[in-house]
């Protein structure tokens, strides 16, 4: 079963790669080496990201599309450490560096050094602002707005919302929260009556929500940032309150909980987040740049959205305890590039 699945996956990647070679008359990248510079590995999203990189990168090397696709992770999630890592990669002679950056600005110096040394730099998820690098960004603010837009379709009468934010001081947290507040300004039947930081972790979110719930009026909806929806649900349950409409973030335990609630009382919600497989998109974008194709510097990746209709399918394809994922192919990368042009 496992082996047949793996073979199937390998075959499809090989096919796409084959197609790519057939249609791309640009320079051959079989001698090019790409490194992944990753700043953090300590949660299930990052683990899924690294796994996708390993699979897609390993396959690309096996197919002769690339000479190497190596992953490196820093241990302490610090910009200084990652800057040193990038300098090492320049010395090791990589042709391209794909990075998930610890800071949007603090690594600009190291990124510039890489560009000056002729290395292609593609940043994704945690992007860098240095103009010489490519950026595969997620419109986090749009994700926040979309959550409120969805609540407005489900709860036309509005009501009180609880906002669960991520890690204080991180760019992504500010962006999603900004989008949520814009959405609430637009749909003024909603009011955010409480806001807590859940650090994108179920146990932290559960603790924060449990602490603030006694002081809150009736809550109709919970807007989240991913990795915190299950904890929020547990806190509402422990407090003996009715479960509000909680927007989820694609974690398997959240989807599992959603499926159970749906079976018990027709619970309906929306789940959205960024697929960890965005690393594979960044790999193919770097490959395209190395192949000499025209690639705009700013690309946008869509979120992975799970609705009532696609829940079963997503749940079945997500390993227990992991995050819903999609692996991007070279074709997807070309589509994203074409859309940006």
């Amino acid at each position: 079963m496992m082996i047949s699945k793996m073979l199937l996956g390998a075959a499809s990647v090989a096919m796409v790669a084959g197609l790519a070679q057939a249609e791309s008359h640009m320079a051959d990248t079989s001698g090019k080496r790409i490194a992944l510079s990753n700043n953090y590995a300590g949660n299930s999203w990052r683990q899924a990201m690294l796994q996708t990189w390993e699979e897609v990168g390993g396959q690309a090397v096996a197919d002769g599309v690339l000479a190497a696709a190596d992953a490196y992770t820093t241990s302490e999630n610090q910009a200084t450490e990652q800057a040193a890592q990038i300098q090492n990669m320049i010395l090791q002679g990589y042709d391209a560096i794909v990075m998930n950056a610890a800071s949007p600005t603090a690594l600009n110096g190291a990124v510039k050094e890489a560009c000056d040394a002729g290395v292609t730099v593609v940043s994704f998820d945690g992007i860098v602002t240095e103009p010489c690098a490519w950026r595969i960004a997620v419109d986090f603010a749009a994700m926040g707005r979309e959550e409120v837009d969805y609540l407005a379709t489900r709860l036309p009468d509005g009501g009180n919302l609880l906002e669960i934010r991520g890690l204080a001081g991180v760019f992504v947290d500010d962006e999603i929260s900004k989008g949520i507040h814009e959405g609430v300004a637009e749909h003024d039947q909603f009011e955010i009556v409480g806001s807590v930081h859940g650090d994108w972790a179920q146990d932290v979110a559960q603790k924060a929500v449990a602490g603030v719930l006694p002081s809150l009026p009736e809550i109709v909806g919970v807007v989240t940032q991913g990795g915190d929806g299950y904890g929020a649900a547990q806190a509402f349950k422990a407090a003996g309150r009715p479960t509000p409409l909680i927007v989820l973030g694609n974690r398997q335990d959240e989807l599992q909980w959603w499926a159970e609630q749906r079976a018990a009382n027709n619970y309906e919600t929306l789940s959205l987040s960024i697929a960890p497989g965005v690393a594979s998109l960044a790999l193919w974008v770097a490959q395209q740049v190395l192949a000499g194709n025209e690639v705009p510097k700013d690309l946008t990746v869509p979120f992975l959205k799970i609705t009532q209709d696609t829940l079963d399918e997503s749940l079945a394809s997500t390993p227990e305890g992991s995050v819903a994922n999609v692996t991007y192919t070279l074709g997807d990368a070309k589509q994203v590039i074409a859309d940006a042009q």
Partner: protein, 311 residues
Amino acid sequence: MTVLTKPWIWSCVAAAVAYALILGLTSGRGAGELAYAALSFGAFAAIVGLGQMLVITLGPGNVDLSVPATMTLAATLALKAMGTDPGTAMLGLVIALFVGFGVGIANYALIYFLRLPPIIATLAASLVYQSLAIWSNRGLRIKPPSGLADFATGRFLGLPNVAWVGLFLAIVVWVVLERSVWGRWLLATGQNMRAARLAGVPVELVRALTYISVAVFSALTGYLLASFSGGAALNMGAEYLLMSIAVVVVGGSSIAGGNSNVPGVWGAALFMFLVVSMLNSYGAGAGVRNVLTGTIIIGIVIAASTRRVRA
């Protein structure tokens, strides 16, 4: 000696004030709910705090920075071994405690044989433990067996089961510290290691057992927290590094060692939960909340330490 001269009173007073301020906002609504949540979440901080207190009591420079990694590793291995199968709760507990024991021995071996300062030894070792946790399960969140999850989230005589565990351990630690030879040895070692050694205290044995204790306490907390929150996550221990040290200091134990304080740890654990809840309830933003939390902690530490000087 009146009750006001006890250093632990300040953390308890602060917890009570934070509790009263939240209830002031809700005009008394949700009092039981809030107390229950504080006891549940405070229990985890209290158990790691008790362990950290024993190490800090050993004297200047003694601290265990591998607490978060130990929690994560013990919880990950225990939950993986149990694999959500019913009736495996004891197996998981044994594995978690065994991991804690092993981690404690490893930490102490680094400190003793390599003569590394404990801060460096435990910090370096924690990278190894965290990597082992990542390697063993790649961050997949496995659900605890339902019986164990029910125990961890359940209650007995109106109090959360995890709080009973925390209270029981607090009493054990208190008895050991105040009423046993080993406790006296620990305090003597913390006050002056050289004097203690010359007086015939088996100083290295005391230190070894202390580092094992903190690791076992951390492992137990990891096991309970993972069972409580529906699975082990790689970042589950992150906030317990500073938390474990903060509850010791806020609780009135001396950061310089040689003076420990069990009731204060529980008071501080409740306070740390309630102060965040209070600031959240009053709608303070993240920046304001962090500044106020820091200021309040400094205030309590000053209050507790000046009282001690006068007494």
